[in-house]
């Protein structure tokens, strides 16, 4: 990741997001939300939020293209 402050903020956000996976407060809640049991709706929303987080990760830290390959011979090559 290129900018250090942004990296720290992102990593902190990632840690918090990981903790949010453990939704203890919905453990025994039988209510329905959006037509599904609330514990299921929450984790479905978690998947959508994870997708948004990954999109942000790609903006902050795009995968770098490596330099042209300087391929080295391996045992067995050219036999």
């Amino acid at each position: 990741m290129r900018a250090r402050p942004l990296r720290r903020v992102f990593l902190l956000g990632l840690g918090l997001f990981y903790l949010l996976h453990n939704d203890l407060w919905l453990w025994d809640d039988p209510q329905l939300l959006a037509g599904l049991p609330v514990g299921l709706t929450y984790h479905l929303a978690y998947c959508l939020a994870a997708a948004a987080l990954m999109a942000l990760l790609l903006v902050l830290d795009p995968p770098p293209e490596p330099p042209e390959p300087r391929r080295e011979p391996r045992p067995g090559d050219g036999r």
Partner: protein, 486 residues
């Protein structure tokens, strides 16, 4: 009619394999990594299709049948976070190193990274052992699907055999390009048909509200996590998707990428794909508990197919079953190809056995090796009667235990071959020990706390790696500099 639909589907997949054969160049790099030319969409579909298997459809619905909606949190939403991060921080970097050094297999990378043939051999044996239960759930899942959807007309053993032969045929003809294309087709099939299955089944049984009301009346505990899942279990399950970093078949697909930017789509879209596949599986498993009661233990592996057979008309049932078979085959093919490349590249070529063989004999030996492994797994599938979900979790647990290895290889210059070897051995010993415990006591968790063994194995492996590295001499700079930019 159902059988005819499935037969047409299998013929289609074979045709894709045969068609891709026309593009096959006669080189190992083309056969095993499609000359690193795969674009973002095919990479996403082949990675996702390879990762999702009988585990995600039959296993997830079977587990949800017994344990309820919490199964989605255990594996789906945790994978939605962990897997794309592994693709980004591990996969893209491995792809760059693979391109730079011309790697075709995972073992080549680890052997080169630490300059140790011994490590390569030990890792080869362990990966093979861990992959067997993973292959087993695919073969078993295929048999269950064909057996249930044909109302027993096709015996489980015959169903498993048919799918093994079809997969072997298109992998042998099309190599990785054929596998990637077939995977893309099959992933689209099982994603679309999975969503369609839940819509049709729920629609025909009175709507979602009515279906959930039936569950609330018959098995209300399935609509919450309650006592079926413990908090520590949910927390420790998040370590299991780390396994994706060490799957040889996923590694092989990473190497096929056209460029680093090719990884962007798989990283961003993976969480959405997980939700699309797992939501129908878990929902149908939970609703199945009300609609098809009385499935004990591993019999619940078949609940998804029983629901399709119960609620969908014949042609549609065939199509939906084809979707399940698609998920099974799209993993089996890559696993078979990975096993073939590991053997051909890391044993036959690396130890120069090919000097003593002609080209035709090498190909024959490679195919015999894969056929022998499949035969062993097939025989095991006939006698092992366990939950697909649990078998899958055991395979993933072992691969997750090896995760510190790939992290150290990519990010820790000071790591040494002694440390790497210690981590592999620690994983093997701990995995075996916990596996035996769990076999004797299904549902085993560490000390009965809910803590999954994966956490202990991961910690043991990481500790062995760090201790082994720090207690051994620093690796040669010339070796390390090949893998790290100064």
């Amino acid at each position: 009619m159902t059988v005819a639909v499935i037969a047409v589907y299998l013929a289609l997949v074979l045709a894709i394999g045969a068609f891709s054969h026309r593009f096959l160049e006669r080189t190992g790099e083309d056969y095993f990594v499609a000359t690193r030319t795969i674009g973002p969409f095919v990479l996403l579909m082949s990675l996702f299709g390879t990762h999702m298997t009988a585990f995600s459809l039959l296993g997830a619905s079977g587990e949800a049948y017994h344990r309820g909606i919490g199964v989605f949190a255990l594996m789906a939403s945790s994978s939605a976070l962990v897997v794309p991060l592994v693709f980004h921080f591990v996969g893209a970097r491995l792809w760059a190193l693979g391109k730079r050094h011309g790697y075709l297999t995972q073992i080549q990378f680890f052997r080169d990274r630490w300059g140790s043939d011994g490590l390569g051999l030990v890792l080869f044996a362990l990966i093979l052992a861990l992959l067997l239960p993973y292959l087993l759930i695919g073969i078993k899942g295929a048999g269950i699907t064909l057996n249930q959807i044909t109302d027993g007309l096709v015996p489980e053993a015959a169903g498993s055999l048919i799918i093994c032969l079809v997969v072997l045929a298109y992998v042998a003809t099309g190599g990785l390009r054929g596998t990637a294309w077939a995977n893309t087709f099959q992933t689209l099939v099982f994603m679309i048909l999975g969503a369609l299955a839940v819509a049709i089944i729920v629609g025909r049984s009175g709507g979602l509200a009515a279906a959930l009301a039936r569950v609330a009346a018959a098995r209300p505990e399935l609509l919450v996590r309650g006592d079926a899942i413990r908090p520590l279990e949910l927390l420790s399950y998040t370590a299991i998707p780390l396994s994706v970093g060490m799957f040889p078949h996923i590694f092989m697909h990473w190497l096929t990428a056209r460029g680093a930017a090719t990884f962007r789509l798989p990283v961003a879209a993976y969480p959405l794909c997980v939700a699309v596949v797992w939501l129908p599986s878990v929902l149908l498993g939970v609703i199945g508990a009300a609609d098809v009661p009385g499935l004990e233990g591993p019999a619940a592996n078949a609940v998804l197919i029983r629901m399709i057979a119960l609620h969908a008309p014949e042609i549609l049932a065939g199509l939906l079953a084809a979707g399940v078979i698609a998920a099974v085959m799209s993993s089996l093919d890559s696993q078979i190809l990975a096993l073939s490349s590991l053997f051909t590249e890391d044993i036959v070529r690396h130890y120069r056995l090919h000097d003593r063989m002609g080209e035709a004999r090498q190909v024959r030996v490679g195919r015999l090796w894969v056929a022998a492994l499949l035969a062993v797994t097939y025989l095991l599938a006939l006698v092992v009667d366990r939950s697909i979900f649990r078998l899958g979790v055991w395979s993933f647990t072992g691969f997750a235990g090896l995760f510190p290895l790939v992290v150290a290889a990519l990010y820790w210059r000071r790591s040494t071959r002694q440390g790497a070897l210690a981590a592999v051995l620690a994983t093997a010993v701990l995995w075996l020990w916990f596996f035996v415990r769990s076999w004797q006591e299904p549902g085993y968790t560490v000390g009965g706390t809910g803590l999954m063994p994966v956490v202990v194995i991961l910690a043991g492996s990481a500790a062995a790696l760090v201790a082994g590295s720090l207690l051994s001499p620093r690796p040669a700079t010339s070796l390390v500099d090949r893998f790290f930019d100064r």
